[in-house]
Subunit: 205 residues, 2 copies
């Protein structure tokens, strides 16, 4: 075994293929229901190759989560860096999160399954932090918008929850339904409705 | 076996105990991870008693879902029957749904686990309908509020999603966290923020 493993050539494409097949199998069959054998067969390699890159199924799962959260963190950094009015920044932030969710919907599906589903023996991963990043980023724009007078005064936490609630329901429609009743334009309209409500001087006729 | 089963005396308390222990085990160990033996042992009865009332684990699960959805449907009928302003009706409806969710949070937990989790072999149950009932009930109040002029004109579906999004995020906080950051008063404040936004003539200062 050691000989086989040490004979593996480092090949980023193989590593990526193992991650992709792991993700696909975890989401379709469940984490507990997926074996190392199935992952390596789907990726067209042998078990020692998986062990070489990830040590175990747990290791592959953790790599998948770490790389997904790293991409998410980088996106969030870009999204919050936008300048403009509070409304422009909020739309840019929330629609950017929405776009990332749709782009990585299979990762989202796996995270929801492990978060809400029965215990499956997956190693602990702090999934709450992604939601906490979203809450913190939205709140910072709310606070800035209140400070500049663009948003009316009020409890910034309440306004944050209202915005995150609208964002969440739009994203969960994509996750839960083959025919989502909200698309990207719908997500923007729903968000604008709440931003209108917390903005000063919006004429309601 | 037939003799044992036919010897069972109909006893609603025993039936309820089996349902309660089934629910407790399904939520803690997962549906697939729970056996008939565990349920009957927890309920202090023998297997034929479970078979008598439910035929199988699947039957017990379906009874649990059917009775839960029946209670939910009845609550919804009561909640939408309230008279008053559109705001009063919307608050009554949404906080009533919130209260029901908190009261039956273990049922909600099981539904989320089966909805988002990996396939566990549970018989099909149309879980989307609960969410559809909520959407329809909220939308009917939005439409009435727009017709009476209490809510400003706009797309009733967008307004419905904004309200349901805020309700959902409040309920999911209860489901996901041992220390929810939104309580019932918070849920009401967040909802009021959105209702303010869609109402006519609300002074924003």
């Amino acid at each position: 075994m050691e000989n086989e493993a040490s004979a593996v050539q480092v090949n980023p494409a193989v590593r990526e293929r193992l991650l992709a097949e792991g993700l696909r199998l975890f989401t379709s069959k469940g984490y507990a229901g997926t074996t190392v054998r199935e992952i390596v067969e789907a990726a067209g390699v042998t078990k020692p190759v998986l062990y070489y890159y990830f040590n175990s199924k747990e290791g592959l799962y953790l790599s998948l989560m770490e790389s997904s959260y790293a991409v998410f963190a980088e996106r969030m950094n870009d999204l919050v860096a936008k300048s403009g009015t509070a409304r422009e920044r909020m739309e840019h932030l929330c629609l950017g999160i929405y776009d990332g969710f749709v782009e990585f919907i299979d990762v989202a599906q796996l995270i929801y399954a492990l978060y809400f589903g029965p215990p499956q023996g997956a190693p602990h991963f702090e999934h709450d932090k992604a939601f906490d990043w979203i809450l913190a980023a939205v709140k910072s724009v709310v606070v800035d918008g209140m400070a500049s007078g663009e948003f009316r005064s009020g409890d910034p936490s309440d306004m944050t929850w209202a915005i995150v609630g609208c964002l969440n329901v739009s994203m969960e429609e994509q996750l839960c339904r083959s025919n989502p009743r909200i698309d990207r334009n719908g997500a923007k309209r729903i968000l604008d409705l709440v931003i209108d409500g917390i903005s000063q001087g919006v004429a309601h006729e």
